[in-house]
C-alpha cells in the first residue's frame, strides 16, 4: 500500500486540527465557520477513501498500521490500525459528520462557532476510538468524546437538555470507570496495552469472567443494553438533530464494537459462558424496546426507543457466535446508523419548521411535503426491513444466526420485526396521512441542502439492500478469525501456537 500519507492519523487529527483552527475565526463570521467545518469534514472523508479502496480483504491482520512509542514508562504506544471489523465504522463516522454539518447549517443559531468546533472534535475522537490498537489510547478517545457530546446535548439541545446531558455523561462515565479498572488489572496481569497481543492471551477463566463484567459495564451502557438504556431516550430526544444523528449512528455503536474488539477476543471463555445471559438481554431489549415505542407521543423519543430495540438485534447477532449472526450484527450497526441517522435528520427537518416533536401536532404532512414524505417512507421501510432495502439483509442474517445459536432466540427476535412494522407504520400514518393538521398546512417544502443528506443516505439504503457483498466482503476474514478465537477459546493449544506464528 503506497498512499503517501498516514491515512489513519490524518483522518483522526485533521478534524481536530480543523476544530482548533476555527478558534481563530471571529465570532461573527458564521458563514466562514460553517464553510470551514464543511471543508474539513469533507476533506476528512476524501482522505479516508483509501481505507475503502486499498483495503486488503484477504487478511484479518491489522492494516494501515502506525506505531510510535508514546508513554514508554507505561509501555503505552500510539498504535492505530484497522481490520475488517472497524474499517466501515471509520468511513461511516466521516460520512455522518458531513451530513451533520449540512443539517445544522440553519438550525444552529447560537454559539455557532463552538458548535462546529465540538462537532469536529467529536469526529476526531470517534474515528480514534475505532482505530486505536492500544488500550490506553482507546480509553483516551473513548472518554474524550464525552466532553464535546455533553456540550452538544447540553448547549444546543431541547428544553430538558441540561438534565439529559448530565444523565448521559454520568451514565457513560460510571460505566467507563469500571472498564478503566478492568484495563488496569489487565495491564498489570499481562504487562501490555497492546490490543492485538491481548487478543491472543490465554487468561485464567476467573479473571476472564471478572474482566468480562467490568468491560460489560462500559459497553452495555453505551450500546445501550436493557436495563441500562434509560439515558438514551433522554439524550437522543433532547440533543439537537446533529447530536441525535451522531449518537444514533456512531456513538452507540461503540459499545457493540467494544464487545467485538475486546470482550470476545480477550475473554473468549467467559464470553462463551455468558452467551445465554447476553442473548436473553438482547431479546428483552428487542421486544421491550419495541413495545415501548407504541406508547410514545414524541417523534424523537419513539425513534430513540426503536434504537434500543434495534441494538438488541446487534448484540444478539454478535453473541450468536456464528458468522451469519456476527456479520449480520456488524452490518446491522452500519444500517442502523444510516437509517436511524436518516430518520433523525427527517425529524430535524420538520422540527425546524414547527418546533414541535409531538406526533399529535402533525397529520396529513404528505400533502404539504411530498418529497419529504417519500424519503421518510423509504427510511421507514428500511427500518422495518423490507426486502430490497438495507435493513432486510442484516435483520435476516441476525435472525438466521440467532436460530442457529438457539431456536427460541431466533423466533423471539423475529417477533421484533412484526412489532417494529407496527410502530413505524402507525407513526407514518399519524404524521403523514390522517386529516391535515391546520398548524402545518403552510410550512415550506424541503430545500436542496436538506435533501442532499437524505439522498446520500438513501443511496446506501439501496446499495446495501441490493448488493450487500460490497460491505460484507470487508468483514468475512476478520469475523471468521474472531469466531475461531472465541469458539475454540484459550484452552485450545492449537490456537495458542497459531497465535504465536500467525500474529498480527
Amino acid at each position: 500500500m503506497e498512499i503517501g500519507y498516514p491515512v489513519l492519523s490524518t483522518v483522526i487529527f485533521l478534524p481536530v486540527f480543523g476544530g482548533l483552527l476555527m478558534l481563530l475565526i471571529g465570532r461573527n463570521q458564521e458563514s466562514v465557520v460553517k464553510w470551514t467545518a464543511l471543508f474539513f469534514s469533507t476533506l476528512t472523508l476524501v482522505l479516508s477513501l483509501p481505507l475503502f479502496t486499498e483495503f486488503d480483504k484477504t487478511t484479518y491482520m491489522m492494516q494501515f498500521v502506525e506505531r510510535k512509542p508514546w508513554i514508554p514508562a507505561w509501555g503505552v504506544e500510539y498504535y492505530v490500525g484497522i481490520d475488517g471489523i472497524s474499517v466501515l465504522f471509520v468511513l461511516l463516522s466521516a460520512l455522518i459528520t458531513i451530513l451533520c454539518v449540512l443539517i445544522s447549517w440553519n438550525s444552529i443559531k447560537i454559539k455557532v462557532k463552538e458548535f462546529y468546533i465540538a462537532l469536529l472534535l467529536i469526529e476526531g475522537a470517534m474515528i480514534g476510538v475505532f482505530c486505536s490498537l492500544d488500550f490506553f489510547l482507546f480509553y483516551i478517545f473513548w472518554e474524550a468524546m464525552l466532553i464535546p457530546m455533553y456540550l452538544i446535548i447540553g448547549v444546543w439541545g431541547g428544553p430538558r437538555r441540561v438534565y439529559a446531558a448530565i444523565k448521559f455523561f454520568l451514565f457513560t462515565l460510571v460505566g467507563s470507570i469500571f472498564m478503566l479498572i478492568g484495563i488496569i488489572v489487565l495491564y498489570l496481569k499481562t504487562g501490555t496495552f497492546n490490543i492485538p497481543e491481548l487478543s491472543q492471551m490465554a487468561l485464567p477463566y476467573n479473571l476472564q469472567l471478572w474482566l468480562f463484567w467490568a468491560f460489560f459495564a462500559a459497553f452495555a451502557v453505551k450500546v445501550p443494553m436493557f436495563p441500562l438504556h434509560t439515558w438514551l431516550p433522554d439524550a437522543h430526544t433532547e440533543a439537537p438533530t446533529a447530536g441525535s444523528v451522531i449518537l444514533a449512528a456512531i456513538l452507540i455503536k461503540m459499545g457493540a464494537y467494544g464487545f467485538l474488539r475486546f470482550s470476545l477476543p480477550f475473554f473468549p471463555d467467559a464470553a462463551r459462558a455468558m452467551t445465554p445471559v447476553m442473548l436473553g438481554l438482547s431479546v428483552v431489549a428487542i421486544i421491550y424496546g419495541g413495545l415501548i415505542c407504541f406508547a410514545q407521543t414524541d417523534l424523537k423519543r419513539l425513534i430513540a426507543y426503536s434504537s434500543v430495540s434495534h441494538m438488541g438485534f446487534v448484540t444478539l447477532g454478535i453473541f450468536a457466535l456464528n458468522s451469519q449472526g456476527m456479520e449480520g450484527g456488524i452490518l446491522y450497526m452500519i444500517n442502523h446508523g444510516i437509517v436511524t441517522g436518516a430518520l433523525f435528520l427527517c425529524v430535524g427537518i420538520v422540527y425546524n419548521r414547527t418546533h414541535s416533536r409531538e406526533i399529535s401536532d402533525y397529520g396529513g404532512l404528505a400533502g404539504v411535503m411530498p418529497v419529504y414524505a417519500g424519503f421518510f417512507m423509504l427510511f421507514t421501510l428500511a427500518s422495518i426491513g423490507l426486502p430490497g432495502l438495507n435493513g432486510f439483509v442484516s435483520e435476516f442474517l441476525v435472525i438466521l444466526g440467532g436460530l442457529k445459536a438457539k431456536k427460541l432466540v431466533g423466533v423471539l427476535a423475529a417477533t421484533g420485526i412484526i412489532i417494529s412494522a407496527g410502530y413505524m407504520l402507525w407513526l407514518y400514518q399519524r404524521v403523514f396521512f390522517n386529516e391535515l393538521n391546520e398548524n402545518i398546512a403552510r410550512i415550506e417544502p424541503m430545500g436542496l441542502r436538506e435533501a442532499l443528506p437524505l439522498l446520500t443516505l438513501s443511496v446506501f439504503v439501496f446499495w446495501i439492500g441490493i448488493y450487500p457483498d460490497t460491505f460484507l466482503s470487508f468483514m468475512h476474514v476478520s469475523v471468521n478469525h474472531l469466531l475461531e478465537r472465541v469458539n475454540y477459546g484459550v484452552s485450545d493449544t492449537m490456537m495458542a501456537i497459531k497465535g504465536m506464528t500467525g500474529g498480527y
Binding site: 480509553y139 474524550a144 466532553i147 454520568l170 470507570i177
Partner: protein, 470 residues
C-alpha cells in the same frame, strides 16, 4: 563550618536572604508589582542552585535528595503562579502591601525545609515557618471580616495540630531516643509495635491529617479557603498541602515504614472518608471557592492513596498527582480571581451563568480545568488519577481503586455543574466584567498549557516523578 556542609542548604539560604531583601525593598519601592516580580526572580535564582544542592547537611538533619527537589519544584510553581494571580487582586482588594510577597516567600521557605527535613525537629521548624506565614496571609485583607475569621480559625486549628505533632515527637523520642527519621525507622524495625508507639503514630497522623485536610480533620478548610484572599486560597490548597504530603511521606514511609501493616488500615479509612466527605459535600455548595475547598479535600483523599501503596510506584504516583493538581487547581482559582472586580465578588456559582456567551475564552479555560479536576482525558487530571489507580491496583487493593473511581465519578457531577452554568444557562442581569491583567493572563496561559500538555504527553513528568521517588 565550611561551605560544603551548608551546600545542601544553599537554596534555602538564598530563599531566606532574598525574602528579607524583598521585605527591605518593599519600603522604598512604590509600585508593589515590582516587589512581586522580585520574588519571582529570587525563586528563579533559588531554582538555579537546586541542582548543586544534592546531599546531606548537619549529620542528616537536612536532606536534599531527588524526593525533596521534586516537591521544591511544586512549591516554586506554586509561588510563581500565586504571585502572578495576586498582583492585580491586591489592588482591587485595597491590600497592596509588599510584605505579602515576602510572607509568601517565607512560607515557601518553610515548605522547602519540610520537604528536606531528615529530623522531626527540623520538620517542625519548617512546619511552623510555613504555617505562621500562611496564617498572616489568610488574614491579609484586614478590612474584610471573613478574611479575619479565616485567619483566626486557621491559626487556632493549626496551633492545635502543631501541639499534637509536638506531642507525637516527644513520645517517639522517649521510645526510640532519637528524632532522626531514618534512625527512628531502624529503632522501630527492631522494637516493633507497642501501645505508646501506636499512640505516637496516631498523633502524627492526626497532625498531618490537619495539614493536608484529611477528613475528619478537614473542618477548617472550607471556612479558611472561603475567607482567605483568593490567591492565598489557591496558594494554600497546593503548597502547604504538598509540603504536608512530602513530610507525611518521608516520616511514615521511612520512619514508620516497618510498621506500615499497622497504620495502613487506618489511613485507608481516612482516605475513603476524605474522598466521601469532599466529593459529596462539594455537590451542595453554591459558592465556588467553597466548592473548590471541598474538592481540594477530596483530592487529598486521592493523593493519600499513594502513601497507602508506598514504595516507588506509590510515591511516584502521589508526587505526579500533586504536581498536576498544582496546575489544574491554581488554574481554576485564576478564573475565579478573574471574575472578581471592584464591587463584585464573583464567587457564587450563579455568577458563572452564561459566561460562555459573555467571555468565551475564560469559560473555555474553566471548562478545561473542571474536566481535568474530574479526571477526564485528554487532560492532565486523568494522567494523575490513572497513575494513582494503577499503583493502588498494583498493590492489590482493587476494591479501594473501585471506591476511588466511584467517588471520582461523583465528583464529575459538581465539576460539570460549573460547566453547565457557564455553557447551558443564559446570563442574568448585567454581564460580568473580567479583571484581566497581563500577569493573570500569563498564569492562565501557563496552567492551561500545562494541563493540556501533560494530558497529551505525560512522559517527561512521569520519568521525573519515578526518578524522584526511586
Amino acid at each position: 563550618m565550611n561551605i560544603s556542609t551548608v551546600g545542601p542548604l544553599l537554596p534555602e539560604i538564598i530563599m531566606a536572604a532574598s525574602a528579607l531583601l524583598v521585605l527591605l525593598f518593599e519600603l522604598v519601592i512604590r509600585k508593589k508589582e515590582t516587589v512581586g516580580l522580585l520574588s519571582i526572580i529570587s525563586v528563579a535564582i533559588v531554582a538555579y542552585y537546586i541542582p548543586q544542592s544534592f546531599g546531606k547537611a548537619f549529620g542528616g538533619m537536612f536532606i536534599s535528595d531527588s524526593y525533596s527537589v521534586f516537591f521544591k519544584f511544586i512549591f516554586f510553581i506554586n509561588l510563581i503562579l500565586t504571585v502572578l494571580l495576586s498582583m492585580r487582586y491586591l489592588v482591587i482588594e485595597k491590600a497592596n502591601h509588599g510584605e505579602y510577597y515576602a510572607l509568601i516567600m517565607f512560607s515557601t521557605l518553610g515548605m522547602m525545609i519540610m520537604a528536606s527535613a531528615g529530623d522531626l525537629i527540623v520538620l517542625y521548624l519548617g512546619l511552623e515557618l510555613m504555617a505562621l506565614s500562611t496564617y498572616v496571609l489568610a488574614g491579609f485583607i484586614r478590612h474584610d471580616i471573613r478574611s479575619n475569621e479565616a485567619a483566626l480559625k486557621y491559626f487556632l486549628l493549626g496551633a492545635f495540630s502543631s501541639a499534637l505533632f509536638l506531642y507525637g515527637i516527644t513520645m517517639i523520642y522517649g521510645l526510640t531516643g532519637t528524632t532522626d527519621i531514618s534512625l527512628i525507622g531502624a529503632a522501630v524495625a527492631e522494637k516493633g509495635l507497642s501501645t505508646p508507639m501506636f499512640l505516637a503514630i496516631i498523633f502524627l497522623m492526626v497532625a498531618f491529617g490537619f495539614k493536608i485536610a484529611l477528613a475528619p480533620f478537614h473542618m477548617w478548610a472550607p471556612d479558611v479557603y472561603e475567607g482567605a484572599p483568593t490567591p492565598i486560597t489557591a496558594f494554600m490548597s497546593v503548597g502547604p498541602k504538598a509540603a504536608g504530603f512530602a513530610a507525611f511521606g518521608r516520616v511514615f514511609l521511612t520512619g514508620f515504614g516497618p510498621l506500615s501493616a499497622d497504620w495502613t488500615g487506618i489511613l485507608i479509612v481516612l482516605s475513603i472518608l476524605t474522598m466521601a466527605v469532599g466529593n459529596i459535600i462539594a455537590i451542595q455548595q453554591s459558592n465556588i471557592k467553597r466548592m473548590l475547598a471541598y474538592s481540594s479535600v477530596a483530592h487529598a483523599g486521592y493523593a493519600v492513596l499513594g502513601i497507602i501503596v508506598g514504595g516507588t510506584e506509590g510515591i511516584a504516583a502521589m508526587m505526579n498527582y500533586l504536581f498536576i493538581y498544582a496546575f489544574m487547581n491554581i488554574g481554576a482559582f485564576a478564573v475565579v480571581i478573574m471574575l472578581r472586580s471592584k464591587g463584585f465578588q464573583g464567587e457564587e456559582l450563579e455568577d458563572y451563568k452564561g459566561l460562555a456567551r459573555t467571555h468565551p475564552l475564560a469559560a473555555a479555560m474553566m471548562l478545561i480545568f473542571m474536566f481535568s479536576l474530574a479526571g477526564i482525558p485528554p487532560t492532565a487530571g486523568f494522567i494523575g488519577k490513572f497513575y494513582l489507580f494503577k499503583a493502588v491496583i498494583g498493590a492489590g487493593y482493587i476494591w479501594l481503586a473501585v471506591v476511588a473511581v466511584i467517588f471520582s465519578a461523583i465528583s464529575a457531577y459538581f465539576y460539570l455543574r460549573v460547566v453547565m452554568y457557564m455553557y447551558m444557562l443564559e446570563p442574568e442581569g448585567e454581564a460580568v466584567t473580567l479583571s484581566l491583567s497581563p500577569s493573570l493572563g500569563l498564569a492562565l496561559f501557563i496552567t492551561t498549557l500545562a494541563v493540556i500538555f501533560i494530558g497529551i504527553y505525560p512522559s517527561p513528568l512521569l520519568s521525573f516523578a519515578r526518578l524522584a521517588a526511586g
